[in-house]
């Protein structure tokens, strides 16, 4: 059943510093972290460890269960692992052949191993930080922050409306799926080939999507009337607009970017040495 998605909507209630922090600062923090991770060279183990430490400290500061956050990031890491691992067996660089047991050999590329490990660590750091920031920031605040950072009014309104109805529609979709499952049944000794054809199943699913869209279209007309009734002024908001940033906050944002840049420079210097 497609219920997992609601749990993955990652906001976790709390009242830590990170929860209360202005969403714009958190966005800046996230982007600095991601950029830094992306610019770090292969094999900069020390800096990776440093970043990992930062991530851990931030997670602790969120007062959320760290294991939950790390696990979420781990789940997201799996597809990455699947793409990267096969490259271990590309024949290039210094290729190593290991004899594990007599007559049973494993061969892999040492340079690929270093590269893949680095990529995995970097992506895990990035995922971990993204998971953390989205766990401490309500979408409402994120949206207000993005709006304050120049997200066009119309897109912000579309996001807001989408968010407001997203879970309603997901539930509707889930109930349709349940109703379909209820009738996807085979009596014990029917002796017939069950399940229908591939094309038929796909088409039925298409019908469900179509029905959902159709009802959504109808609903949107009612929503517009409700919006007008409540004094629609051309923008749909979820929360309060953001207040202007103080100089201190701006300085903090700049500092984060600089720190990231410094880390990248250090890492490159260490690798060069």
């Amino acid at each position: 059943m497609p219920t997992g998605i609601v749990q993955r909507a990652s906001y976790l209630r709390g009242s830590s510093i990170l929860h209360r922090c202005d969403a714009r600062i958190k966005i800046a923090l996230l982007i600095s972290f991601l950029l830094t991770a992306a610019f770090l060279p292969i094999g900069a183990w020390v800096v990776y460890a440093l970043m990992g430490g930062l991530l851990l400290v931030a997670m602790l500061a969120s007062e959320l269960p760290v294991s939950v956050l790390l696990q979420r990031a781990l789940v997201l890491e799996i597809p990455i692992l699947l793409v990267l691992l096969p490259q271990l067996f590309l024949q290039k660089g210094n290729f190593v052949v290991l004899t594990v047991i007599k007559g049973f050999q494993i061969s892999f590329s040492m340079s690929s191993l270093v590269r893949i490990t680095s990529l995995l660590i970097r992506s895990y750091l990035s995922l971990g930080f993204t998971v953390l920031i989205t766990a401490v920031t309500r979408f409402e605040d994120l949206l207000a922050a993005m709006r304050a950072c120049g997200l066009p009014r119309m897109l912000a309104s579309i996001f807001a409306l989408m968010w407001r109805y997203l879970f309603v529609l997901i539930e509707e979709m889930e109930r349709m799926t349940q109703a379909r499952a209820s009738r996807s049944a085979v009596p014990v000794n029917s002796g017939m080939r069950a399940g229908g054809s591939f094309g038929w199943r796909a088409q039925v699913t298409g019908g469900m999507a179509g029905a959902l869209l159709l009802r959504t279209l109808e609903r949107s007309e009612r929503i517009y009337q409700a919006m007008l009734a409540r004094g629609y002024d051309g923008e749909v908001r979820l929360g309060h607009a953001s207040e202007p940033l103080t100089w201190g906050q701006k300085a903090a944002m700049l500092l984060m970017l600089l720190m990231g840049a410094a880390l990248v420079l250090i890492a490159n210097g260490m690798n060069g040495a």
């Binding site: 349709m176 349940q178 109703a179 499952a181 049944a185 069950a194 039925v204």
Partner: protein, 237 residues
Amino acid sequence: MIEIEKLSYSYEDGRTALAALNLSVSTGEKIALVGPNGAGKTTLLLHLNGILRGEGIVRVGGEIINERNLSKIRAEVGLAFQSPDDQLFSNSVYEDVAYGLIYQGAPAGMIKDRVAAALEMVGMPGCEGRSPYHLSLGEKKRIALATVLVMQPRVLALDEPTAGLDPRGRRGIINLLAGLEQTLIIATHDLGLAKELCPRMVIMDAGRIIYDGSTMVAFQNPALLEKHGLTDYYIDS
């Protein structure tokens, strides 16, 4: 036919919808499942064919529901949803009603006959070609019932079959249900239907079974009905 032991279920948001509930239904019984909004009626029905799988044991025809016999169980227990919109998602009434049989791999001729018969039963013969989208609520409810009847399950679990129907439509459904031999479990707010169709009544509130016994006896206890939101007046006690 159905045995439920210590069934508990909480939704993802942590809300407990069923709390250690026991219920046993014999073959051919007709049971009214009543209780206020949010009592857990729908949640309970969703457990009867394994759509939801809470803690505890649900047995259908002596077998505990598990991953492997789900498909068989769902053929035995037909579930009609509270909102017919959830159940109708095809281009035509025919395709919607035929869904279960097509899934079973039934031959085309048989499908056609059984669809026609099911539509006849719910009082909507000959409307195979119509688009479900353009039907009225009452008509949709009847088609949704037909989508389940067509599979000829041994147990029918119906979620508010008469809600939103006009008096004549309601009468039609009650007469139809009265003529069925299957085991019936009807979640409803329609006490008239309960009185007329179901000798046994189960009252639920807050995920628990509060009363399980004769419908007539329950009706002689207005305080009980009132306490669980089943009357639209208040009694001084």
